[in-house]
Structures are given as structure tokens and as C-alpha cells.
């Protein structure tokens, strides 16, 4: 049963008063809850947010469903997002993504058995001059080769 921590609730209450419209706090609240729920958002998370924010479940759910940074299913401790849009594709981004999956023995949008990694292909992350690149959780890693990417990932426990 997912419960928000007191610190999480306090943060959300702060966000509720931060903007002119109360609903503007939905995106910040989803970020807070996603972090507390191990990187993804379940139906239960939405229900808790609905209670804490006094907003309908459907109102929070429509925002959750719309934005790609809110994960719809469990992710690994290190969520690896590889850009496959044009500037990265011109520099081997898609081959890099394939190689990472192969080495980690995991399919796209799946989690490794040990729960350490999940890999997904994403659209442009604004790292076009330093392609190819990957984002692991919040962090950007740029100018990658398959070897350098794997060295980085092996270092993440």
C-alpha cells in the first residue's frame, strides 16, 4: 500500500500554494510521488495524491497519462533513456540503444532481473551537439560510444 511520507506531503502542500492555480501543482506532485514510489506511478499513487490534493482522481490521471516523464510501469533503479531522434540517429544513437539492451540482457521498456536497470528509447533531449547520448535517471551522459556507455552503466550499482 503506497503512502506518501510526511516530507512528501509537506512538499506537495507547498506546491499547492506556489502557483495561481491549484491544479498547477499536479505536475510537481507527480514528480514527488514518483520519486517516493521507486520511479513510477501506480493507480494507488494517483489515489493518494487525489486525497492529499483534494482533486479528483481523473483530473490527476489525465495529466499523468499525458507526459512521458511519468513512468506508467516499474523501472529499474537506473532508468536508462537513450535518445533515438535525428541528430543522435545520425551518430549511432539507435545502435547504441540496441547494444545497451544486448549487454544488459533486457528488452526495451523492461527491467533487468536484479532490478538494477531498465532501458527505453526516447525522443530529442536537447543534446544534439554531443550525440549520441543517454539519460540515466536525472543525469545526462554525452558523446558516448557503446563501450563508454557500458563502462558508465557497469559503475552504477
Amino acid at each position: 500500500m503506497f503512502q506518501l511520507s510526511q516530507a512528501g506531503k509537506d512538499k506537495i502542500l507547498k506546491e499547492l500554494n506556489r502557483y495561481e492555480a491549484k491544479e498547477s501543482a499536479i505536475i510537481p506532485a507527480l514528480y514527488i510521488a514518483q520519486q517516493e514510489n521507486g520511479g513510477w506511478i501506480s493507480d494507488q499513487v494517483i489515489e493518494r495524491l487525489s486525497e492529499v490534493m483534494s482533486l479528483p482522481v481523473a483530473r490527476i490521471n489525465e495529466v499523468f497519462q499525458f507526459y512521458t516523464m511519468f513512468n506508467k510501469k516499474p523501472v529499474g533503479r537506473h532508468h536508462v533513456q537513450v535518445c533515438c531522434n535525428i541528430s543522435c540517429a545520425l551518430n549511432g544513437g539507435r545502435e547504441l540503444a540496441n547494444q545497451i539492451c544486448k549487454e544488459l540482457k533486457v528488452g526495451y521498456d523492461e527491467v533487468t532481473e536484479d532490478g538494477r536497470f531498465s532501458v527505453t528509447r526516447v525522443e530529442c533531449l536537447g543534446s544534439c551537439g554531443t550525440a549520441p547520448m543517454m539519460q540515466v535517471n536525472d543525469k545526462y551522459y554525452e558523446n558516448l560510444t557503446p563501450e563508454s556507455a557500458m563502462n558508465i552503466l557497469r559503475g552504477l550499482k
Binding site: A21, E23, S24, I27, V63, I86, S87, G126, G129
Partner: protein, 429 residues
């Protein structure tokens, strides 16, 4: 070559901090602007000829002039949702010079009589959000934001809002929807945001680079700014060069700068043994041009419009002869299909069909009539929707198919790419 009006001090780490920014004249222009009447600032920006640097190229002063002449509360939003594939200039500007943006926004806030502003930054730019938030803290402590800025009697509050991954939020009314805590779906215009925007109040939305450019314009005066660039495209612009070049990067040059100098001189040209095949001149939504066209293109609004494409966000993507145009188009159709907000039928359905048809060709299942089908679907998507995403999805298709038709026909006939050694089916989604 380069003309560093905005980026002169970007290589200095101290420029990121308030004290360092001030050392190089930071916030001096603000002091001058706070003594000016709002209309004087609008007139100066109008006279400078500054055009929006986010993609649409609309004259900034004219946009500001659309605000109602009354005391109704209004908002100033900075569009930092940089998501146009190929574009990474706003990221650089916020990373290296957050105070330049803040100074530009306080001035723009005064000019538009806004008391409140937001910087809407794409959520993936997490470290940038932290940098900008820190800079805002510094500015508040120094009395540059909040009540009675530097004793002028003028108030302006500024906050950051983090997006959560949606290309459509870079469209100004999509951004407003998102900031209001909704799905980032664009709104029908009119009413334009300047009349009815955020929370139905008058709202000005400007790109990061546009707001930052206000600082040198007021510092040097409109006539000096107008001397740079071309008659219809005054000033400098940051170009994000990417793709198959030796030295990709952000380069600030006067508008009207030759595209071939950006690619070959600043960008170091192509890799050994490679030749240029095509260039996408203004972010992925801009129609592609051939290497021959790129040879004579200049980086300004009018030249690229004349060539049937656009300056857009200034993202120049160079494609060399080792690349397959059918494959690259498949990357783009996937993107637009993924990013369509689903509100308008021609876009929601059209982006899906374009993507399916292009992928059937890449997978070797294409038919010759599919090439014309792509053109037909794309034609039906233009000018029929609330926002420009549908057109942005259609234009690359039309230009790729028209200018590189031989590659599409070859792919359909042979079931493989015309480019030797290219086998791309395994890399697509």
C-alpha cells in the same frame, strides 16, 4: 565569423554567478530600463526588428504591442521547453548565463507591465532547472526581483516551472495549458495569448534567446542592433549545429551568415571521405534542402523562406552521404506520431498513417503508390488543425519525398536502401 553579442562571456564560469555577471556589466541595462517608460522599451524593441528566436520568427515588439491597454493583470512566460529536434541553444544560454535571461525578463516584465513571470523549462533539463533556481535566489537576495526592484517602485516576481516531457508544450498555448496544470494541449487562436492567455489573462510568451536579446538591444540601442544581420533579419542568432559534422556546437553569428561557412568553417566540415547530402536548416520541422541548395543558402528568415523552408529555431542538421533519407524520415515520422497531442483528427490520425507508411517502406513492404500516398496524407494535414504540429509533421515528409524521391523509389523496388551498407530495419521502434 562568429559575432558574440550574447555569448561573449559564456566561456567564463564566473559569468554564471551574480557577482561574475555584474563584473561584465550585468544588470546595468536593467537600471537604465527601469527609468524608461514601458512604451519606450516596446518602441526600442520594435525598432530593433528583433524577431522571436523560438521558431516562428514573429516580431517581438509587435507581440508585446498586442497587450490590452488597461490595468488588467498580465503574465510574462519564458518558453524554455526546448524540444525541437536538433536544438540545444536555450540549454546553453541558461547553463552559462542564467542572469542574462533573468535581466531580459525583468526588462520585458517592465515593458509589458507584468508583475509575474514564469520560466517554463523542459523537465529533462533537471540540472538547468537547478542552475536557474539558484540564479533566481541570488537575484531575489540582491533586490533585483520582488517588490520595488532597486528602489524603482516596480515589482516583478519570477519563478520556474518544470515540464514533464511533451514536445507540444513548446507551442505557446500548449505551454499555457501545461502551466495551468492540464494536458499540454494547444488552444484555438484567436484569442491570442496577448489578449487571453494564462488563466485567461493577457500573457506574453517569448523564447529564452528572444528575452536575452533584449539586453544588448537596450544597451547598444536599436540602430546599432539593426546594423547587424540583414534588413529583414536584424541581429545575431545562435545556431545549434549537429549531425554529421566534425565540430557540432552552438555558434552565434549575424543573421544572413552563409550556411556553408557554418557547416564547413565553424563546424569543421564533414568527416573524412564524406560528402554533404542534405541539410535540415531550422529544426526537424523545417523542410529539408539538398546539398546544392545549402551551398547558396544564408541563415536568415527571408532566404530560407524563399527556398521553401524556414530558419525555425536555428537548429542546422547536416546529413552526409552515408545516411539513408528514407531511414531518417522514419525517425521523424515516429517522433511526430509520438508527440501529437491527439486533439485534432488530421494530426492524430495523419501522423500515425505517415509513420506506418514510411515504416512499411523501411521494412521492405512498401508499394510504389505508397510514395504518393505519403504526399496525399501530408497535404491533407496542412493548415487544418489548432496548432502547427500537424504542418510540422507534414512538411518534412513532403520535402524528403520530393527532393529524394529516387531513394524512396529504390527502397520500394529493391526492398533495401539505395545507400550502400545501410540496413536500418533493426534499429526502428
Amino acid at each position: 565569423m562568429e559575432m558574440k553579442l550574447l555569448t561573449e562571456h559564456y566561456h567564463k564560469d564566473e559569468f554564471r554567478r551574480l557577482d561574475g555577471y555584474k563584473k561584465f556589466g550585468g544588470y546595468e541595462v536593467l537600471k537604465k530600463a527601469l527609468k524608461m517608460q514601458p512604451q519606450q522599451i516596446i518602441d526600442e524593441v520594435k525598432a530593433s526588428g528583433l524577431r522571436g528566436r523560438g521558431g516562428a520568427g514573429f516580431p517581438t515588439g509587435t507581440k508585446w504591442g498586442f497587450l490590452p491597454k488597461n490595468n488588467e493583470p498580465r503574465y510574462l512566460l519564458c518558453n524554455a521547453d526546448e524540444g525541437e529536434p536538433g536544438t540545444y541553444k536555450d540549454r546553453l544560454m541558461m547553463e552559462r548565463a542564467p542572469h542574462q535571461l533573468i535581466e531580459g525578463m525583468i526588462i520585458a516584465g517592465h515593458a509589458t507591465c507584468s508583475k509575474k513571470g514564469y520560466i517554463y523549462i523542459r523537465g529533462e533539463y533537471n540540472y538547468i532547472i537547478l542552475i536557474v533556481e539558484h540564479a533566481l535566489e541570488e537575484a531575489y537576495k540582491a533586490g533585483l526581483l520582488g517588490k520595488n526592484i532597486l528602489g524603482s517602485g516596480i515589482d516583478f516576481d519570477l519563478d520556474v516551472y518544470a515540464g514533464a516531457g511533451a514536445y507540444i508544450c513548446g507551442e505557446e498555448t500548449g505551454m499555457i495549458s501545461s502551466l495551468e496544470g492540464k494536458k499540454g494541449q494547444p488552444k484555438l487562436k484567436p484569442p491570442f495569448p496577448a489578449v487571453q492567455g494564462y488563466l485567461r489573462k493577457p500573457t506574453i510568451v517569448n523564447n529564452v534567446e528572444t528575452l536575452a536579446a533584449v539586453v544588448p538591444i537596450l544597451r547598444d540601442g536599436a540602430p546599432a542592433y539593426k546594423k547587424i544581420g540583414t534588413e529583414k533579419s536584424p541581429g545575431t542568432k545562435l545556431f545549434s549545429l549537429s549531425g554529421n559534422v566534425v565540430r557540432p556546437g552552438n555558434y552565434e553569428v549575424p543573421l544572413g551568415f552563409p550556411m556553408k561557412d557554418l557547416i564547413y568553417k565553424l563546424g569543421g566540415g564533414l568527416r573524412p571521405g564524406r560528402r554533404l547530402k542534405a541539410v535540415i536548416p531550422g529544426g526537424s520541422s523545417a523542410p529539408v534542402i539538398t546539398a546544392a541548395e545549402a551551398e547558396s543558402a544564408t541563415l536568415d528568415y527571408e532566404c530560407l523562406a524563399q527556398m521553401g523552408t524556414m530558419l525555425g529555431s536555428g537548429a542546422v542538421i547536416a546529413i552526409d552521404d552515408s545516411q539513408c533519407m528514407v531511414d531518417m524520415l522514419a525517425v521523424l515520422t515516429h517522433f511526430y506520431h509520438h508527440e501529437s497531442c491527439g486533439q485534432c483528427t488530421p494530426c492524430r490520425e495523419g501522423t500515425g498513417w505517415l509513420n506506418k507508411v514510411v515504416h512499411s517502406i523501411v521494412e521492405g513492404r512498401g508499394r510504389l503508390q505508397d510514395i504518393d500516398l505519403l504526399v496525399k496524407v501530408a497535404d491533407n494535414m496542412k493548415g487544418r488543425t489548432i496548432c502547427a504540429l500537424s504542418d510540422a509533421a507534414a512538411l518534412p515528409v513532403l520535402s524528403f519525398v520530393t527532393k529524394f524521391r529516387d531513394e524512396f523509389e529504390f527502397y520500394v523496388r529493391e526492398g533495401r536502401s539505395k545507400v550502400k551498407g545501410v540496413s536500418h530495419a533493426q534499429v526502428h521502434h
